[in-house]
């Protein structure tokens, strides 16, 4: 189970961010908004990668900045 290996695998998919391991839970913090993960197929591949790297769950951290895109939309 390696957070770094998962981070690299996700980056190769075009999902850029940092990965924190909490036991078998991987927490992904994206650089940028969550747009790539709105693609269902890409999301499924990301979850599969987490599984291949020994994690049972992959969760997207929802940070303070996760809603920034919303402000842009409203503007």
């Amino acid at each position: 189970m390696s957070a770094e290996a998962l981070r690299q695998a996700l980056a190769a998919l075009g999902i850029h961010g940092s990965v924190e391991a909490r036991g078998a839970l991987a927490i992904l913090t994206l650089h940028g908004d969550g747009a790539p993960l709105r693609d269902r197929e890409l999301r499924a591949r990301a979850v599969a990668l987490a599984s291949e790297n020994g994690f049972t769950n992959l969760a997207l951290e929802v940070s303070d900045s996760s809603g920034e895109g919303a402000a842009l939309h409203r503007d």
């Binding site: 036991g23 078998a24 269902r40 049972t56 769950n57 969760a59 929802v62 809603g67 895109g69 409203r74």
Partner: protein, 284 residues
Amino acid sequence: MDETLATELAVDVREKEKRLAAWLGEQPSVLLGFSGGVDSAYLGCVAVETLGKERTLAAIGRSPSYPDEQWATARSIAERVGLPILEVDTHEMDDPRYAANPTNRCYFCKTELWTVLQRVARERGIATIIDGTNADDRSDWRPGTQAAREHEIRSPLAEVGMTKAEIRFLSRQRGLPTWSKPSSPCLSSRLPYGTPVTAPRLRQVELAESALRELGVVGDLRVRHHGDLARVELDRRELDDWLEPARLAALRNAVTSAGFERVALDLRGFRSGSLNVLGGVSAA
């Protein structure tokens, strides 16, 4: 689905319902462990219809692990179907074996519940204690089942082979609002095994889930407690919508308002028993 097949299935399900009513009809009286969920609501409805109010009693076990919203639903359902209820306090939180949150935590909770209900049954001369375990439940990891066996609790839905889907179908036929209700196990199921069960942690989960419901979350929902971090599991069909930036921000606000510092959205969505998987109790 082919219309003939659908008709045959409906006939088969109604046959099971007849067997259920016959089973209940053989009991002098029943005390039902009643949560107000899909299974016990349906069972309570058939029980009171078969045995009448004088021979049926539904008991709601109240403790911090039982959400207020579910308690309100249970009372409302009971009133709707004319099911007499009795509310009893249970004290599983005082049992250190339960509070330590081992993988067989449910065993200690159910042991407390069934011990209390056995006393009630004895005092009131009620012959049989029943629960809403269905045929599907028997294939799951359910340490609570052992406690039921030890206390001679009967599970008529399982005994007549009725599955969750069939109970939903029959509930809908009867106009029970629970027919489409998501499963809602006790709040302690949101804490990873080994994380002590405390009233403040349960309250935090309850507040977060309640805030998310108010925000418009529908279908299955679990807020899993990982200390400072809440991991939110939503119905998979809802995930696309909730990954929109504005909704993510609203989701975060709702969950942090319950006292969590960090919020994460599970990208696989809701999975029943996901903490069993995370804790290595069952396969991914």
